[in-house]
Symmetry: none
Subunit: 221 residues, 2 copies
């Protein structure tokens, strides 16, 4: 059984498609709008060099990409090519930023990430994936757990953080005192002073915003 893999034309120089062929896959080049390889109808792979991966975390590009991947394919996979240790040792990049990015991708968005040492491993993973996805199997359909339902508490805090000078801490104090968002938003200025962390000045700013009459600018910025 010879698996079929669609490869984005821009992946040609990476040589991964060639290795895929040598492993026994049939490769068809095509201009893909999302993902770099398609291993089955519902299964796509985004390949990233480590450098690219890191910078795409910093620019938050990767999260949009992952979401789009998941919109189109129920079984997406990101393959990162390179050795994390080198990055940690040779640059000032904080390892925790990378862990955080990986955790956000996998746990919040729900797209798995796999590290490959080099192009050859990348190809081998894609080959294995294509083979198993294109083989008849009696597997139960994937039940993809719904990721990231925000808790009520978080949404309450988040709503308040839309106000100036209100972060997580102040938001918490406000809700502790007023119980519901509606009551917080109804609070008069002089009451807000009594919240620790809110003095006259900040209370005034908040109430000015709450009571400002809405005026639409005629011209777009």
């Amino acid at each position: 059984m010879k698996p079929l893999v669609y490869a984005d034309t821009r992946e040609q120089p990476s040589n991964v498609p060639e290795i895929l062929k040598s492993l026994g896959a049939r490769v068809i080049f095509e201009a893909l709008t999302v993902g770099d390889y398609i291993a089955a109808r519902d299964c796509a792979v985004e390949r990233k060099t480590l450098k690219d991966f890191v910078s795409s975390i910093f620019q938050a590009r990767i999260f949009d990409q992952a979401r789009r991947l998941l919109e189109v394919y129920s079984k997406p996979l990101i393959i990162v090519e390179g050795n994390l240790t080198e990055i940690f040792e040779k640059t000032n990049i904080q390892s925790r930023s990378i862990w955080g990015g990986l955790l956000a991708l996998m746990l919040d968005i729900g797209v798995p990430v796999l590290f490959a040492r080099d192009r050859y491993e990348t190809a081998e993973i894609i080959f294995t994936l294509a083979k198993r996805e294109q083989t008849e199997k009696k597997k139960a359909p994937v039940v993809r757990p719904k990721r990231k339902m925000w808790t009520l508490e978080q949404r309450q805090l988040y709503a308040l953080m839309g106000l100036p000078n209100v972060g997580p801490e102040i938001a918490k104090r406000l809700l502790r005192k007023y119980e519901t968002l509606r009551k917080v938003f109804a609070a008069p200025e002089h009451e807000l002073w009594h919240i620790e962390g809110l003095g006259k000045k900040r209370a005034k700013k908040i109430c000015e915003l709450l009571d400002a009459i809405f005026e639409e600018k005629q011209f777009k910025e």
Copy 2:
């Protein structure tokens, strides 16, 4: 902010709990029935040495374990400690069987797997995970764009976008009708229906959030 992590008592000899403490986490030992570490109410980590991981793939143990993990925790994570390359180089183990196992875990079962180079990295990942899961989120999956300079109008719209199903357009319509933020936040459910783009369902969701009593669900002992 000092994250709290529950550690299975059997993990003590791994020294990971000690490292977690040194990173600034509070660690509580407990006999856990599933998983090795708990980083939040719905978030557990299974730690495996690479040798153990490989043999658990061949015995198919890992898949049941992963499924049980997912039954109890909506955000499970498997951390594999060790270097895959060494396994491939020093044993006869077929790399494809490992890739197959990893893909099955991540794509079929839906449990993410992350490789750590050593105990220290394992601890760092768990620490990062606990911290991010136990900290109030400042950013939302729904885009509330982060602007540098704010006009009054932008501020008003931004504040409303903290509500579910409210984006820039709905926010504008709400403010056109009610004039000030305070009045929008005071609006009763049946009035919100009349806003274009808000039906019974969305209005209800908004009001549920506005009137929900604040309860702090801390991840505590």
